[in-house]
Each structure stands twice: as structure tokens, then as C-alpha cells.
């Protein structure tokens, strides 16, 4: 008896799922491309993580500046880099800026180095590291009254 009830329930659920998915298929736009395959997604993720890693290395490197300091001197685990609060009015620059301008300010002033080209590989990597260390955070553009710790890191670099 028991097994009978179970199998009936199963059939019922199966039918419902089939109807629901059919309804979704019907309204999907015809020009949408096929979903990324698992292999494609894996390759994209690998690229992203390589960029984050490159940013992590730069973040901890004295080579961006001329006085031995690195971003990580003041921002361990990208703490208080607050990427999710940009663009915002930045007091030390007196204007609204995106994160990359703040990164360049840090390179030029505290680190006494040369500003990076805003579209350089290095800048993209630094931004990627800062943002990835704040994944899941709510966007708060304009917020300039608080410092934020990054995602909780228990071990390792803080990303896969």
C-alpha cells in the first residue's frame, strides 16, 4: 500500500513540473542564446579567479609604489576598500569618483607611485580582487561614512 501512495505522489509531482516548465518555455524569447555549458562556465570562472589572484598579488606587492608600501599595508583582505560604496564623493579628492580613481589615489599618495592606466590589466585585477573580497554585499553607491570589513575569511586567500 505504502509504495502505491508514494508512486502516485511521484507521478503527480512529475506532471506539475512538466506543466510549469512548458509554460516557461512558451514565453522565452526566441533569440536567446543557449545557456552556457558547464565547460564554458568553468573556463569563465577560471579566468575570473586568475584575475582575482593577479589582483591579490599586486595588492600585496610593493612594486606599485616607491616607498615599500603595498595596498595591503592598510587594507588586509581588502578590508576598508569598500568597493560596493563607489561611485561616491571622496573627501580627499573633493569629487565623485569610481573605485579605480581611489585605487590610483592610493598608489600616488600613500604609496608614492605612478598612477595606472584606468583600463590596464593591473587596474582590472586590483578592482577584481577588491570586489571579489566583498561578494554578496549590497550595493551602496555614495556611502562615505563607514568602513566595511570584507567577506569573512577563515582560511586561505579568501577566494577559491
Amino acid at each position: 500500500m505504502k509504495s502505491n501512495i508514494k508512486s502516485r505522489l511521484f507521478t503527480f509531482t512529475g506532471t506539475t513540473v512538466a506543466i510549469v516548465s512548458f509554460a516557461f518555455l512558451a514565453i522565452e524569447p526566441a533569440q536567446a542564446r543557449k545557456p552556457f555549458t558547464q565547460d564554458e562556465l568553468a573556463a569563465q570562472y577560471k579566468d575570473l579567479m586568475a584575475t582575482v589572484k593577479e589582483g591579490d598579488d599586486l595588492w600585496h606587492s610593493a612594486k606599485l609604489g616607491k616607498n615599500g608600501l603595498a595596498c595591503a599595508n592598510c587594507h588586509p583582505d581588502a578590508a576598508a576598500s569598500n568597493p560596493h560604496t563607489f561611485p561616491k564623493w571622496q573627501a580627499n579628492l573633493g569629487q565623485v569618483i569610481p573605485l579605480r580613481d581611489m585605487i590610483n589615489w592610493c598608489i600616488q599618495v600613500p604609496l608614492e607611485g605612478q598612477a595606472l592606466d584606468a583600463n590596464s590589466k593591473e587596474m582590472k585585477a586590483l578592482e577584481a580582487y577588491s570586489f571579489y573580497m566583498h561578494r554578496g554585499f549590497k550595493l551602496k553607491p555614495g556611502e562615505n561614512t563607514r568602513q566595511h570589513p570584507p567577506v569573512e575569511v577563515r582560511s586561505g586567500a579568501g577566494y577559491p
Binding site: 615599500g68 599595508n73 588586509p76 580627499n92 589615489w105 599618495v109 568602513q147 570589513p149 586561505g156
Partner: protein, 338 residues
């Protein structure tokens, strides 16, 4: 002129202890002064009020005229201009950034301009290039104690990690490079380790429970944020050894920020650096009101400063942060009761 006849036993030990003969003289004094002095020490004032100052975390680089040199010089000037002058200064570690002898020598040169005596303990940045060789050559043992005006002061090296470099085949430079990162995820937790725990047990064994005890370590003696080694692995054992005292005050460097906690009989407080401030980690502070304001990155001195402690008769007192910018909320400006 100090009137030795009016001093109690512990004060006498404090003065002679400075000559580097603390242990020898201690037993000699015990014999010659005997019961009379002990009775005096049991009176209601446990110490003669005085001030001491703390400097820490200069992170000097082996680069001529580096900006941090000037900041440490400013801190030294500040201390020399304190009124009243502190009786001594304790430096809580991270004189250098990369453990180079030249960094430590530069720091020692700048700190030698202090008008008052100096005691020093190491930080991780001073140590892991040559495993403390240069530091010990310049500053002696990282483990010490002395008595001053009725207070027992203890300094220990809390930045000892287990060997993570031999297996990885790291060079001394690479080892130091790892340790230089606050969030080093290869280095493991710091501690004072067995030898210093044994030393501590012996050091405090003969002290009476009402002796005012002050401890200095580079890292906090509680689990604040282990990820950044805002902790000392064997702090529970240290607190246990000191649990017999009525009150213990602990001061630490390393966190480059205002932070306070109290566990049992021990109050622990963090100190301002002369290099850069560190943001608060993402945990709830045990005393959320005792914290510093957000720092203006455009002001090179914001988040930095010196500090002094005025100890009162009954071993109470406050730590005063001497911040160089508008860093402190009103409650903290008046000093933090210890």
C-alpha cells in the same frame, strides 16, 4: 635625591632592578629588611603614582628619509614634551617592516633620543628574517620583568609561530615576506610558547596577590581576530598563570587601533601605531564604544599617535591616547579606565 629610607621593599627592588641585578638584590633585600618592610608594603597605598608611555609599530623601511622615520621622530618628540614626563617608555614591537638590521638600527637611533629609559619587545616584522638575531643583538632578551614604584612589569615575545618554512623550503627572505602580510595564510597562529610560560610561572611565583601586575605583548592576550593574528594562542595559559592576582593590566601593539577588552581579572588594551591604522575586522567588539573613528586617508597622521598611562595609588588608572587627528570619540578622549 631619592630617600631610600622611606621606600618600601618593592620600590627598593625596582630601583636596584634597573641596574640589572634584580634577582640577586631581591633575595639580599629580603634578608636585610625583613618584616618591617613587608608590613609597610601592606599599607593601603599599593604604589606611588606615576606615568609611563607607549610607542609602537613604526614599521621603518630601509629607505633613506622614509615618511615613517619622521613620524617616529614626532612621537619621540611628543613623549619628550609630555608634562609630567613619563618614568619610562615601552615599545611594543614592529620597529622594522622586513626584519632588516638596518631598519632596527634606524629605529634604535631614533628611539635613543628619548629622555627617559626604554623597554622593548619584538613584533613579527622585527623577527622572521633572521629569527630575531639582529633584534636580540640590539635589544637583548625579548622576555623580561622589572619592578617600578610598586608595580611588577612583564614583557614577553608573543609572535612565535611553528616552523612553516622548512617543509616549504623557503629562504629567510621568503619567510619574512610571508610574515609581513597581516593575513598570511601559511604562517599559523602566534604564541609565547612553553619556555616563556615556564618563565612567567617562576617570575610571578613570589609576588603577593595584591601586587599590581602589568603585561606587555605584541599581540592581544585574547581571541580578537585570529585571521590577522589579533590573538595569542596560549593567552588562556597566560591568563591562568596570572589569575591569582587581584588585577592585571595588559597592553599590546600589532592592531594599530583603539580596542579594549576585559577577561576575568585582566584588562587588555590596544595602542596607536606611528605607521598606518588598521580597519576593524568584521566581528562585534566586546566594548563597541571604545573604538576610534573612521580615518581620513588624506591625512598622513590620522589614525596614528602615542599613548600614556597614569597609574594611581590603588592600581587604577587610565590609558590616554594622544591621537594626532580627530580620531577619538568623546568617551575615549578622556582616557580609557583600565
Amino acid at each position: 635625591m631619592t630617600d631610600f629610607s622611606k621606600m618600601n621593599r618593592r620600590e627598593f627592588l625596582g630601583i636596584t632592578g634597573k641596574a640589572g641585578l634584580a634577582t640577586l638584590v631581591a633575595s639580599a633585600a629580603g634578608v636585610s629588611f625583613g618584616m618591617v618592610q613587608v608590613a609597610e608594603a601592606a599599607g593601603n597605598s599599593r604604589l606611588t603614582p606615576f606615568r609611563f608611555a607607549i610607542l609602537t609599530d613604526a614599521h621603518l623601511y630601509d629607505i633613506p628619509d622614509h615618511k615613517f622615520d619622521g613620524i617616529l621622530k614626532k612621537a619621540v618628540d611628543d613623549v619628550n614634551n609630555m608634562n609630567p614626563l613619563p618614568d619610562f617608555v615601552v615599545y611594543l614591537g614592529d620597529i622594522g617592516q622586513s626584519g632588516k638590521r638596518a631598519e632596527l638600527e634606524k629605529g634604535k637611533r631614533i628611539l635613543s633620543k628619548l629622555k627617559v629609559p626604554l623597554k622593548v619587545i619584538p613584533g613579527e616584522h622585527d623577527w622572521y628574517l633572521d629569527m630575531g638575531q639582529a633584534w636580540r643583538d640590539m635589544f637583548g632578551s625579548p622576555t623580561w620583568s622589572f619592578d617600578h614604584k610598586g608595580v611588577h612589569f612583564i614583557g614577553m615575545n608573543s609572535i612565535l609561530v611553528r616552523d612553516f618554512w622548512t617543509m616549504k623550503g623557503l629562504t629567510p627572505d621568503e619567510r619574512m615576506g610571508f610574515m609581513e602580510e597581516l593575513e598570511c595564510h601559511h604562517c599559523g597562529l602566534w604564541g609565547v610558547r612553553e619556555e616563556q610560560l615556564e618563565w612567567l610561572k617562576k617570575d610571578v611565583k613570589k609576588l603577593k596577590p595584591d601586587t599590581p601586575v602589568v603585561v606587555f605583548t605584541h599581540s592581544p592576550l585574547w581571541d580578537y581576530y585570529p585571521r590577522w593574528n589579533f590573538q595569542t594562542e596560549d593567552a588562556p595559559q597566560i591568563r591562568e598563570i596570572l589569575s591569582g592576582f587581584e588585577r592585571v593590566m595588559a597592553f599590546h601593539g600589532h592592531v594599530h587601533q583603539v580596542v579594549y577588552n576585559r577577561i576575568g581579572n585582566l584588562s587588555s588594551i590596544g595602542t596607536l601605531s606611528t605607521s598606518w591604522p588598521w580597519p576593524y575586522p568584521g566581528i562585534e567588539l566586546p566594548f563597541p564604544d571604545i573604538k576610534m573613528n573612521r580615518v581620513d586617508p588624506g591625512d598622513i597622521l590620522d589614525g596614528l599617535g602615542t599613548q600614556y598611562i597614569d597609574l594611581e595609588k590603588e592600581f587604577s588608572g587610565a590609558l590616554h591616547y594622544d591621537a594626532w587627528a580627530d580620531l577619538l570619540p568623546e568617551g575615549v578622549k578622556k582616557g580609557v579606565k583600565l
